[in-house]
Symmetry: C2
């Protein structure tokens, strides 16, 4: 038996054919290069058809297909919403794939849910029943595992942690992204840095040498690592927000593990002890003692592993 996992990102599609034990039989990666709507659907079809030709599939039957999308999967309708792919506002991805794949089951879930499932299958969450994958990249989202199953909520949009309210009073700048995401996502950290730079005219550190509109969170992290004072202030604040968010997830969910992933963790991995220290101030103390903070073991491959695990575990 084999399963096919497809991880559709904002800029590329990564697919892989797996044996049930997690061994990879074949993989394919393609960039979207500006494709939109049905063109992206066509690219997914191409990858599925290529991987199905793999000679290993003569002996291994293709059991099912799992797809990770960068947004929301509305499971009862089979449609997806992916804000970074134009034309995927309410895109009928499941019907489309089903129409050429025949009676092989197709399961679709959000990238944050798939990253959680990938870590559960082959990464940092192996053996967990209650765990959270906190994806900190351009934005912030969470895949939440409750008693072995992904938390979906009433309409498949549970886990929108970027909207967590952590800093009163409300400020208009939080509209459209959420308070936690504003302060502690990749995009947020870059924004906060630009705001500080335009205020602090006497600052002469490494960040002042960059064009202000091109500064990224990775630049801030790099400056932080060489002891830059402004970067230290910004990352110190981010640690405070990450710690408060961890505390809230711990008090609410009493999880075994919280796994930091996404583009920023990555370089911010070394901050986990500081994040824990901040969380310990705020969280329910018994629950806090029970939780482990960890970083993603699969990193960029968490989504494709998770898509395959989705296929493996819910083939119907």
């Amino acid at each position: 038996m084999a399963v096919l996992g497809i991880d559709i990102g904002g800029t590329k599609i990564a697919s892989a054919l797996f044996r049930e034990n997690g061994d990879t039989l074949s993989r394919q990666n393609d960039y979207l290069e500006g494709r939109q709507g049905a063109e992206v659907g066509e690219q997914v079809r191409g990858q599925i058809n290529n991987l199905r030709k793999h000679p290993g599939l003569k002996e291994d039957k293709l059991l099912s297909i799992g797809i990770s999308v960068p947004g929301i999967s509305y499971r009862s309708e089979g449609t997806v919403w992916a804000p970074n792919i134009p034309g995927w506002e309410n895109y009928p991805l499941r019907d489309e794939v089903q129409s050429f794949i025949g009676d092989i089951p197709v399961n679709i879930d959000s990238d944050r849910a798939c990253c959680m499932l990938g870590e559960l299958w082959k990464g940092s969450a192996r053996g967990c029943k209650n765990a959270i994958f906190l994806a900190v990249g351009t934005g912030i989202g969470a895949g939440i595992l409750v008693n072995g199953k992904i938390l979906r909520g009433n309409n498949d949009i549970a886990g929108s942690v970027g909207w967590m309210a952590l800093n009163r009073p409300f400020d208009k700048k939080y509209t459209g992204c959420g308070c936690f995401e504003y302060h502690a996502s990749g995009e947020g950290i870059a924004k906060v840095c630009r705001a500080y730079l335009s205020e602090q005219e006497n600052y002469r550190g490494s960040l002042a040498k960059k064009k202000i509109n091109e500064i990224s969170a990775h630049d801030v992290m790099a400056a932080y690592k060489v002891g830059d004072s402004l970067a230290g202030k910004i990352i110190g604040e981010s640690v405070e927000y990450w710690g408060m968010a961890v505390a809230n997830l711990v008090s609410l969910f009493n999880p075994e593990k919280i796994i930091f992933g996404g583009g920023l963790f990555g370089p911010a991995k070394a901050l986990l002890p500081d994040i824990r220290k901040e969380a310990e101030k705020w969280a329910q103390p018994i629950s806090m003692k029970q939780v482990r903070l960890d970083s993603s073991a699969l990193e960029g491959r968490a989504g494709v592993y998770g898509a395959a695990y989705l296929a493996l575990k819910s083939p119907g």
Copy 2:
């Protein structure tokens, strides 16, 4: 068939015998009057034995017993922790009840979980799959329903919402109770009021006439309702915290309903539209549109109904 629900509170024990359809056959309420440890166990035994003698049980077999405790139920051990009952730190309630009740199944859960289940069975959450009971009394806790089941977490302490971090930076006064509970529980509102009164020497409103150490959240609510300025400030802040907490629950869980209960809702019911307005600023906007805020339909009886529903739904 009949089930027996027992709601052990910090000051009294309320039991009732129900038919499967929710009709009450008989009930009994007793005050703890300072009883501790095994004396409380003895009182529980007395209520069970009295209710078992009800003549209706000749035709209806007693299917199972459910018990709500004011604290934590450790389900694998069958022990309970109830901070307001001396001697109930790690009390073997399940074994004790089981020892005299024979082979009738006994299920125990926390009061916040039971209130959620009571509202699900016969109250404001009927028909819901994903809902949250927010209990705002002396402290703050939540019973969280995820896809029809109570969220427990790794060690039965999920739902500790009183520890939610909402107001940075961390302040030592949050140690021991949590930030949300400090600002917006009954005990918290009284504490905040006392702190303001000791600062504002020129205040001459109705709260100034009370003995400062005897002021309760109910006094503050009463003063608020007659337009007192200090009470207006305090309750306005509480509304902000309640709104932020609702926002966080909405963004994380995407529930159909959040039900406010506990001693303060009650008198603070009329604030639900203001709480919603505050939450709308912060929460994931699609999820926020889908949620309804409501107050407890069962009020003080939610726990005993929930204990009975616990018995009915998980008899094994």
